[in-house]
Symmetry: C2
Amino acid sequence: MAGSGARGPRRRATMADIAEQLGISKAAVSYALNDQPGVAADTRDRVLALARELGWHASSSARALSGAQTSVVGLVLSRPTDLLTVETFFIRFLAGLEQVLSERGFSLLLRVIGDHPEDEISTYERWWGERRIDGVILMDERVHDPRVSALAELGLPGVLCGGPMPGAELPCVWTDQAGDAAVAVQHLAALGHRRIGHVCGPPVFAHERARRRGVRRAGRARGVEVTTVEAPYTGPEAGKVTRRMLASESRPTALIFGSDTMAIAGLSAATELGLRVPEDLSAVSWDDSILTTLIQPAVTALSRDTPGYGGLAAAVLIDLIEGRNRGLVRAPLSTLQVRGSTARPS
Amino acid sequence: MAGSGARGPRRRATMADIAEQLGISKAAVSYALNDQPGVAADTRDRVLALARELGWHASSSARALSGAQTSVVGLVLSRPTDLLTVETFFIRFLAGLEQVLSERGFSLLLRVIGDHPEDEISTYERWWGERRIDGVILMDERVHDPRVSALAELGLPGVLCGGPMPGAELPCVWTDQAGDAAVAVQHLAALGHRRIGHVCGPPVFAHERARRRGVRRAGRARGVEVTTVEAPYTGPEAGKVTRRMLASESRPTALIFGSDTMAIAGLSAATELGLRVPEDLSAVSWDDSILTTLIQPAVTALSRDTPGYGGLAAAVLIDLIEGRNRGLVRAPLSTLQVRGSTARPS
DNA sequence: TAGGTTGACTTAACGGATTAAGTTCTATTC
DNA sequence: GAATAGAACTTAATCCGTTAAGTCAACCTA
């Protein structure tokens, strides 16, 4: 499996080597290797055989230099590193993304920038300027997101995970946050909850705003009182906010958490306050992962095929790179995984 | 911040553009941009100013083609995707790795291959053949790891996270598993535990074997009886194995888990069996993350500055690429974070 | 049999940066 | 005033694959 033959490890073969060894021209070798007309069948076979024997691969630099695309897609993760730590969302997204990329012959260039979101745009500028990438995926849409116009100015193809962007030329993979909100609120309302708390992530993120609006609207539609609090995605902060919310006079009987990590931290805080889950407090997590099933009780969660979401983003980007702008694409729907953390209020 | 000026978004500037606009040769521009002698100071300044104005970046392809390195490092993650999901280790490792890479002007090319570990070597072959990368980082050392000889055969620089590799030419970032084992066992022994269970990850991984040996040896040295069981890294499997171990006649009073995820699943299983933690069962996790502090009680864990580990691997690799083989490098030591999950047996 | 077509190639230019090897011109030195 | 050194450039080759344009022989047709 691990490379055959005892060829020297030093110099990597080039097309010129193949051409010389077979006594033909570089061009003929190129035609043969790219399955283009202009070479006889047996010549083609001899070229292919020798190329295989020499372990030849086309230099991506030379290819890119003569006009071809690089077949590389860029991704910048720009949350503080201690959040990446917990947000298993990213790695699931990444896994799905990568699968589609590799299926379609693309590679992923990754940058993790901790606490300097302004580096994101300059990273794009550099990568694009250096002809390292063919396109990028924008995660974590912000409210007035400067990245959209930056891409337009650079002429750099990209997909936005978020949107919709009315009148923008870049395709969006859009998630129906309001629909998800309705499902979660409906579940709790049907169990008999009348006061729901929403522990929401930072409102700089467009999806958090959409979720907040969605939860409020869904609550209004079902006669449920909704209280929203915002917290950074970190566990300790989510715990603190939850504690405060549960200490209030008219405390909610159910909480919706913005992520699996927040849910776990929040439930931990609730337990410390002596509340039993689900008897005294129901909880829903807005993101599912194996985490939610690891703790006791397992957490009811909106589950969204995150790898599929990443894969879809990759597919939309590759289509764009290849000239097909798919516009607004809807991400796979979430489904509610009902588990032990939700029950009727006592 | 987001790109200034109203320059056209289409064509990206080249050195030839700069040369033409200033009426000098490409070579002079190159010398100016690379801070090499051969140009007057004011010419250099004008070149630099124009380059900045045009948003010029050196084409990485052209650079690489004329012999320079690509300044890209490759990493293949080859665990089943559902494991990546939980293993927050990877993303912390990645974050640290990336920080050092970007500080030193390198980028990361990432591939996630789910369940086909044999693709890893062929990915290296392709990346190296295509001149996309300067080196790779090998994670998850296996027992007779075919990747080591594959790299040697290709002449592809790489660091091994693991080792030591006696007589091998590739540098290793080595973790003292036996030392860590001794710390964990010592902690439990000092609390009075005499029967310890070790829920170990799959023994195809070299580090799991080293840990198993380390725990056994440390137990023997302190008169502690050690039982080892192996499980895949998945939560459900770890739970199952834990349950079986705790059901036995002479059940251990303390468990050491191979990862944070396994620890959480295991503790969940113990709670289901009616065991209280830490009164009836103490638990130590061999990997720390925010996860271990999110649950109740928080889990005592061997904590190892995973981002620092990733960063070290990156530094050793870049040094190798630049011609300095650092040989066997010791990874930062783990420290035991004592939390609520360990106490003296009742 | 001249003229045209096709197949199987070869030649040469190109892309963008690097760099060895010139070429000018100015300044210094004896 | 001639020789020499050095600064400030330019020229041209190189890296490797792609591709438009050209060559040459064989085969086909009216």
